[in-house]
Symmetry: C2
Subunit: 334 residues, 2 copies
């Protein structure tokens, strides 16, 4: 049996290859792979990342994926005896980490239907012994949850710790990174997996006060980032122009795709990411299954609040078209 | 100021470059680094690793370093409510993991001076609600703690779970991997960092019953191994002959080095690893500091039981000679 080549629109991967500098930098250090780490590479990467983030090196820590940055944060939260809460619906991957780390988590619902911050609920639930996790833009809902200083300051006042996951920062253009200079209860988490097109390298980073940065680093193993991964990330950082082009092209493709989706009579919030969150007339899982049979992988959810949605990563033009055609066919059969 | 090129004899890295197939395989998959994982690569790696281990694929799970395999085991131990104990002295890295995961650990002392298993103590301390960690060969003491079926069966009867860390298996030639077919309370942990000369790729694996393998996989994030790392490990597995040559050369260099050490009037146990554990007339930390000033990095310890030892990785001939000369000089000043 010939395996169907699947169109990958289920993991929010970049639809574009990495910069050619990525291969170049990986090759450069490969003969030293017998060593746990290469100081020269680490120094250069740290310098470049700090410059990209726009903050001194002491505010930035690197992890083998933003998942592991979150993991370090969860371990820190546990060690401080804080209670972890998250806005909901949000990143389901957090729940896996929480289960593995054996900590409890609470949920603060976003407003129904439009998935915005419920400031009344947040004010009520906020407490100095709680750590709030909040992706901005949010995943899977694709919207920015806030883009103003007032909201951030409100959250920082109400919660003992605020973790803002900016995995899609390069697509939204909005960041709260600069605030880590002023406050010591903010952790910003970011990744090289989306705009930089190197998800397979598993590199993420955290931005926080110098003190918090130390705490996060204490909660992740030594030498945890593979040398080729760090070299790949350095290569990606050396070609910011390429990343910007990828982002620009992705945004154009995303907005075209959204028009097509609306044209089918379906609703999708304005996205500030590289994916769309599409409301479906029947459970998203069912739509996802039907699409998979047509060779297109998208993501549906069992969580009650988002049962009638699919999350669809922006792909190349031909894949997006194939998705729209398949979705249109499926809708006709309902 | 010119930085002194340090001789790395402190991390038990391989003194030899990886096989040339490593670079080849890494390059092969680099253009797909925008994807979280490459199924074809995963399938091929799993097939090859299973063949190397000599067990079906269902008994083997892969992790981004053996540290992360241990971490998955610690999480599993916590979820089952077991108490973790380790023979001592043994791998200090375990203590970092234990601290990060917020679990307690107990110590069962090896016999003083010769660092062997104390079967009386183990019998007394053994309990179905305890998980025992035991590196074999042991790190940092370099000796095999057991090489017979009877001892393993004794441990498996006495403890609820036994984790045997076989990081140096290729140097010792002794493994208990085959037992996972028969018992469901044994986890064997191994790494690509030593004999396979790709420490910088951070790839490790666990061997356990099918049921236990599932539990370990549930306790590590999805897509945790970077694509270049997995490709590097596949390249290394495709060149077993090269690995065997590295091991053979390292063993020869190690035994030569040990003769030199004994010639200086110092004691070092017979090593079954790629390092020596050398008894020093003054605290090892002090010797390590003196050596560092001469450009040679080795490992000393603050733990009481091994205060008067240094752990020295076998390096290339010229480095081993430099170490012996420097050590000889230092001893003369005492």
């Amino acid at each position: 049996m010939v395996e169907l080549e699947q169109v990958r629109m289920h993991l929010n991967e970049s639809a574009f290859e990495p910069s050619r500098l990525v291969a170049e930098y990986v090759a450069k250090y490969i003969s030293k792979l017998n060593l746990y780490s290469i100081e020269e590479l680490e120094r250069e990467f740290t310098r470049k990342l700090s410059s990209y983030v726009g903050l001194p090196e002491e505010y930035v820590s690197t992890f083998p994926s933003s998942t592991e940055a979150l993991n370090a944060a969860i371990r820190y939260i546990r060690s401080r005896g804080l209670r972890l809460v998250t806005v909901w619906p949000s990143f389901h991957g957090l729940l896996d980490q929480v289960r593995m780390e054996g900590v409890d988590i609470g949920f603060i619902q976003l407003t129904p239907e439009n998935f915005e911050l419920d400031l009344v609920k947040l004010a009520r639930e906020g407490s100095p012994d709680k750590a709030l996790y909040l992706p901005n833009p949010n995943n899977p809902t694709s919207n920015l949850l806030f883009n103003d200083k007032d909201t951030l300051e409100f959250l920082l006042r109400r919660f003992g710790l605020v973790i803002v996951d900016e995995a899609y920062y390069e697509f939204s253009g909005y960041t709260v990174a600069d605030f880590v200079r002023e406050v010591d209860n903010l952790i910003v988490v970011r990744t090289f997996s989306k705009a930089f097109s190197i998800a397979g390298a598993r590199v993420g980073y955290a931005i926080a006060s110098q003190e918090l940065t130390q705490r996060l680093m204490e909660n992740t193993p030594m030498f945890s980032i593979a040398t080729p991964s760090l070299a790949a990330a350095l290569g990606a950082l050396e070609d910011i122009d390429y990343m910007k082009k990828v982002v620009e092209k992705t945004i154009k493709l995303r907005d075209d795709l959204r028009k097509e989706v609306l044209g089918l009579g379906l609703y999708a919030p304005v996205s500030k990411t590289n994916f769309l969150f599409i409301k479906t007339p029947i459970p998203g899982r069912y739509i996802a299954k039907q699409l998979a049979q047509r060779g297109i992988r998208v993501r549906g959810y069992d969580f009650e609040e988002i049962r009638n949605y699919v999350r669809v990563s922006v792909s190349r033009k031909e894949n997006n078209l194939a998705f729209i055609n398949a979705l249109s066919d499926i809708l006709k059969t309902l």
